[in-house]
Subunit: 191 residues, 2 copies
């Protein structure tokens, strides 16, 4: 069992509706040392890929993106939800549906922060149905950049996202894949 699986067993809480709460260490309160381990984990997996940028979506991906970008020595970029007054019209746009929030969001990235030739590592805290990820992939493609890897903290292996994205040919690395979960316990996929 790796560092993240151990932490999930210790501090994760399974709630109704296939919700796994890890907000004591990953996405509300954040254990920075754990994030650094996660960054190192993704680096080990993708260090040969010539990554030039780490991309995520706000809010809970930001901490993971920064920890990962630090190890790679490249900038982190986060896609913003909805249009704000501070963003120029010159943006890439994607629609994403949130599993957690049961709503649709428009996410945007300013064109100047993703360029043709960029080799992008997409990271996020969760992969469930894969909607957020497909939005980010579409933004990278619109930029003429390449998705060189996808690093996920926790994949819900019993939902379709991981299978779908891998079937499209993307190199997905999930630090922990939950195969089954209930209040009685959590089972991880072993590979």
């Amino acid at each position: 069992m790796n560092f993240l699986e151990e932490r999930i067993l210790r501090d994760g809480v399974v709630k109704d509706g296939d919700v796994l709460r890890v907000d004591s260490f990953l996405n509300h309160q954040m254990d920075v040392a754990l994030l650094d381990e996660l960054g190192a984990y993704f680096y080990e997996r993708f260090k040969e890929k010539g990554i030039t940028k780490v991309l995520t979506v706000e809010a809970s991906g930001i901490a993971i993106a920064c920890a990962t970008a630090r190890v790679f020595g490249v900038p982190a970029v986060f896609a913003k939800k909805s249009k704000t007054l501070n963003v120029d019209g010159d943006v890439y746009v994607a629609e994403v549906e949130s599993f957690t929030h049961k709503c649709k969001n428009t996410v945007i990235v300013c064109k100047q922060y993703l360029e043709r030739g960029d080799r992008v590592l997409i990271v996020d805290d969760f992969l469930a149905n894969g909607c957020a990820l497909r939005g980010l992939i579409s933004i990278v493609q619109c930029a003429g950049a390449e998705v060189s890897g996808i690093g996920i903290a926790i994949e819900k292996g019993f939902q379709m996202g991981g299978r779908t994205i891998r079937a499209l040919g993307y190199d997905v690395c999930s630090a922990a894949i939950v195969e089954e979960m209930s209040e009685g316990g959590i089972v991880f996929r072993t590979e």
Copy 2:
């Protein structure tokens, strides 16, 4: 001139409506090395305060909070905007108005992540009218914890927030205080 003021002069863009865009290095694309400098800057200023937690509000404060929490060796917590399915009822709540987005948000922190006795360093990317900050301060007070310091990347010295919060007795450290800005240039406060 310090590291952040230099970077603002080099890469910041002044837009209509008192908007200073720093999203090429601070809050859309993020230069992790700069964030680390900012964390070290706040550490130097508040290292004697016995900080036990770094608190910010999503989304643009998260990267700064993590970089700062890393140096202090404490957890980072971010207040979430609006109620999500993933958060229990047991939360501290504050209303904040956003200068950038011209809207009101409810921000929440789960009670378990701020405790009586915590010595909290609040950090954020901008201090303008101080609404977000007052919301975070009120959350810390509801928790029976102490605001032991406030670290801001960029303070708009020509708006009331900084003066108001300091007048309330809080120890505010802004890495860069913009005294005046226009398309012609940016003037920083020198202390």
